[in-house]
Symmetry: C2
Subunit: 103 residues, 2 copies
């Protein structure tokens, strides 16, 4: 098995500008909403998005490097999970505020 966690910033390395910039993109916001609905994690490819696989990978990398989500391998699949705890600790209320938007 040997699942592996992809490189991501520690909690104290997360910068609020990076988080906001990452969230301020429609496709990425869609991804975050999907992750919020699935606390157990979501396989990247299972989220319906109007972009190609390479663009999807780009957005996931952006979100991961901003500290918004965590990704670990599971065979050939990659499971992404929202870093709720870290974000809530750093910016209490931010995530719930965003998710409460009736889009």
């Amino acid at each position: 098995m040997a699942t592996k966690v992809l490189p991501q910033p520690e909690r104290d390395e997360i910068r609020v500008e990076a988080v906001l910039q990452a969230l301020g993109e429609p496709v990425r916001l869609t991804i975050v909403r999907a992750l919020a609905d699935n606390p157990a994690g979501v396989c990247c490819g299972d989220i319906e998005l109007p972009v190609t696989a390479s663009t999807r990978a780009h957005h996931l990398k952006t979100l991961r490097e901003a500290g918004v989500l965590s990704t670990h391998t599971d065979g050939t699949r990659r499971i992404s999970v929202l870093r709720r705890e870290d974000l809530e600790a750093l910016y209490p209320g931010l995530l719930t505020g965003i998710l409460s938007a009736k889009q």
Copy 2:
């Protein structure tokens, strides 16, 4: 006197992507923090920023059009106020979450 309010979106016209994108820029985040510290409003030019006046005007326009702040005239000055109430109603917790970042 005849202070005038500059054009801005109504509460129900505010889109979360626009707000996040507006906040995800260092200079604009600095402006928002300054406004948060001064609930009565701040004269645009009184915020220390590492940019020229025209760039400053550009950022203020972006924030205003996103629905983050409101601007009204006061003689030759323009006073900007954070739209706390509207943002709190739309995205409860978002603003406090962002402002609690120890930058």
